[in-house]
């Protein structure tokens, strides 16, 4: 069977489910972030696959560039927040951090 659009879409679907699983189950906040990166990557695969197999020019690839950019910004901000939380609570396990204010 020749590799076509649905192959790429199925890869991205499995990657998306892995990301959701990581976001739900992991205790460590950094591993939750890794799950979010997996989700963003799977969305990008979808955008680029649809660009390749349609008459749309390169709009999907342009959107993919913006997604990568936002992922970089999100990782920087989220890690700053995680480091701050670690300084305050001495842990980054999201189930132990339940205080809004000390």
């Amino acid at each position: 069977m020749q590799v076509g659009l649905s192959h790429f879409l199925i890869i991205s679907a499995i990657l998306f489910s892995f990301g959701i699983y990581a976001v739900i189950t992991r205790k460590n906040a950094i591993l939750v972030l890794m799950g979010i990166e997996l989700i963003l990557n799977s969305a990008n695969i979808n955008f680029i696959a649809f660009t390749r197999f349609s008459t749309a020019k390169l709009d999907g690839q342009a959107i993919a560039v913006f997604v990568i950019l936002l992922a970089a910004a999100e990782a920087a901000i989220a890690l700053a927040i995680v480091l701050n939380i670690y300084n305050k609570f001495k842990t980054v396990n999201v189930d132990e951090i339940s205080n809004l204010k000390e």
């Binding site: 590799v3 892995f18 739900i24 990166e37 695969i45 990568i68 950019l69 970089a72 990782a75 890690l79």
Partner: protein, 170 residues
């Protein structure tokens, strides 16, 4: 099975297996390093989809930037020497059910849908036309994105700063 298909299955295998290690490994360091292979595999998939610029950007930004940031985060928030870097999991059963159902539904949907596929011959390289699009069609989002990056840099530096005494006194 031509070369394209074999390459696709290779990259798909690398991506999915290393993503599985990221999700299921108990050791944070193993997860972080196998995320590297996931990003490489996804970049290979981008190349197979004729997205050369995105593939290189993926390697530069994800592998060179985000992964290093995540590794810094892992190193700074775990006592590397004293405590072993294990991490626990929560709500394993509902999460397994939910993500398995999600994967099944999405795969079934993608497989069953009769996509109208148009195979136009791909452009030899996309960087030129992408640059033109950013300067014409996507000019406003492009400029807004640069402001977003600036704000993100300043915000991250401000949040992660250790000494807050200056702000308290003013």
């Amino acid at each position: 099975m031509n070369l394209y298909d074999i390459t696709f299955y290779f990259f798909a295998f690398v991506t999915l297996v290393s993503a599985g290690v990221v999700v299921f490994s108990k050791n944070i360091i193993y997860s972080a390093f196998s995320l590297l292979f996931t990003f490489f595999g996804v970049a290979g998939i981008y190349v197979l989809l004729n997205a050369d610029f995105i593939a290189v950007a993926q390697l530069l930004i994800y592998v060179g930037g985000i992964l290093v940031l995540l590794l810094f985060g892992v190193m700074l928030t775990n006592k590397v020497i004293s405590v072993d870097m294990k991490t626990g999991t929560l709500q394993t059963l509902p999460a397994t059910l939910l993500s398995a159902m999600l994967a099944g539904a999405l795969c079934g949907l993608f497989y069953a849908t009769d996509w109208k596929i148009i195979r136009i011959p791909p452009a030899p390289e996309t960087t030129n036309s992408l640059g033109e699009m950013f300067m014409t069609t996507y000019l406003l989002p492009f400029e807004v994105a640069s402001i977003v990056l600036l704000v993100a840099i300043l915000g991250a530096a401000f949040i992660a700063r250790k000494d807050r005494s200056i702000r308290r006194t003013t």
